[in-house]
Symmetry: C2
Subunit: 332 residues, 2 copies
Amino acid sequence: MANSHNPSGEDSLIARYFKPLATDPGAFGLVDDAAILRSSGEDIVVTTDAVVEGVHYLADDPPGTIARKALRVNLSDLAAKGAVPAGFVLTLALRSKEDIWLRPFADALGEDAKAFACPLLGGDTVSTPGPQMISITAFGRVPQGRMVGRTGAKPGDRILVTGTIGDAALGLDVLKGGVIAQALASDLHAREMLTSRYRVPQPRNALALAVREHATAAMDVSDGLAGDLTKLCAASGVSAIIEVASVPLSAAAASLVARNAVGIEMPLAGGDDYEVLCTVPAARSDALVTAGRAAGIAVTAIGTIVEGSERPRFLDSQGKELALKRLSYSHF
Amino acid sequence: MANSHNPSGEDSLIARYFKPLATDPGAFGLVDDAAILRSSGEDIVVTTDAVVEGVHYLADDPPGTIARKALRVNLSDLAAKGAVPAGFVLTLALRSKEDIWLRPFADALGEDAKAFACPLLGGDTVSTPGPQMISITAFGRVPQGRMVGRTGAKPGDRILVTGTIGDAALGLDVLKGGVIAQALASDLHAREMLTSRYRVPQPRNALALAVREHATAAMDVSDGLAGDLTKLCAASGVSAIIEVASVPLSAAAASLVARNAVGIEMPLAGGDDYEVLCTVPAARSDALVTAGRAAGIAVTAIGTIVEGSERPRFLDSQGKELALKRLSYSHF
């Protein structure tokens, strides 16, 4: 752990809260400024994602869910790349170092680090008078040259997605007291399911080896399915057709769309899903679905890669193209 | 680069400013969420350090010096660990994305990335309404098991430090218009030297191989020589005696101390030096000094490791112990 400017204050904070998470020998119990990631010739996959108070989580979100989200958005990247987690480093920009916030934060982070076999290797804590921010850089391992990129999608590939799409964006609306909160005023269960999908993503690391085995291209859906698919297609030099009726929705989301409480655009363009989006040769599509079933993860085919450079087309059940006004959820 | 929530806005920002820095094939031109760090069995050294506006740099510091400092504080850690830079990932928390700030920031970052052979591998940009923050995780390589830690200092080892100590803390005082600014009111040259030492550290990567070759323990001095030596000794289970008259000061700092414009405590405890502090068996001390000379880096012996668990003692030229009221510069 780097010691940004009060050795006594920060050192005791690190020892008290974060040392128990540093189970890897390469972390040196956090007494050094640096950590070691051992490698025996495989590729190290590196990904970095930050979450900011008021942008990626809400100031009154429970500290434990903030910790889990900060780590899981990175674990989700590793899953989509076909990588096995190896560890992470953490930068915490905090306004205060109160036990009532840090204790549940560190406990939940430790639980997830253990559950996903992704130990803390080091980090830095700094003070900020502004919004809190948690920046994590996570590491994974793949055999040499086997990281699943974005550029390999081929015409004819099927497009698959894990889990359900759009719940997190609906959950954020619930937390903000928007139209969805009103539409679900009498349905506590649905409100809780959707908000927990926003607060605590479910990264699909259990599917990582199957993604590496079968996918020609993959990424995680963080900024909205429509926008992220557009990026994947651009990187691969292809286009796509999505059968909107096939896009997997939770019962709550499907009901909201059926009641016209929300347009289909919101799940398609809403962010924070952290599901895996991948392209798979048609002949192997079933194999990935089967691997998902074995891992307890729904995998759904939602469309096909086609030649071309135009934006992906989203077709309704009559084959009519939907004109999406936006593709992604936009903060920046 | 991860895309935090406005694909079009962020993607174009990345392409315009940061893609030219992503010269390593493992960066995939920043089109992916993840990067690859190739390894052929050596250890990957990982270090992470963030700089925060108003804490580690001042809001009106030139964007170019902010960029250099953000990268160099991490390069300094790699140098002290005996590691050769391999690349870095960047998280930018910005209030605005104005060209007038980002252009010189990215240009200077690119120059340093090239000069230190440490290419950009990926990153994340997020928006913040609060102070800006730059968090960097940097990677280096060492042969397996050869990272220089903090725990190997042995009684009898000489204590060596690179460059000069205390200039950055004095420079920060100048920038804040403190007592040093007044004491140097008529000496523009000294003011500029000291402020540039605060704004742009000189990481000692040219000495990394010699540190790996000779040092039993090492760290970079970021929080003040006295406090950082105390940490190194605690990690090694030893104590130390420092000959204060041997601590290398710049002419400007030495003059300020001689005039009693500032006590010796300020250079000894002031932060932001980013020099290498290391312990070396007495018989090899000269070899490290010689290696420094070859690399154009002053290396000075300032004391000796001794048995014991008490805090290091700082002796004046009469052998009398100085009572330091503080050991480190404290922000957190």
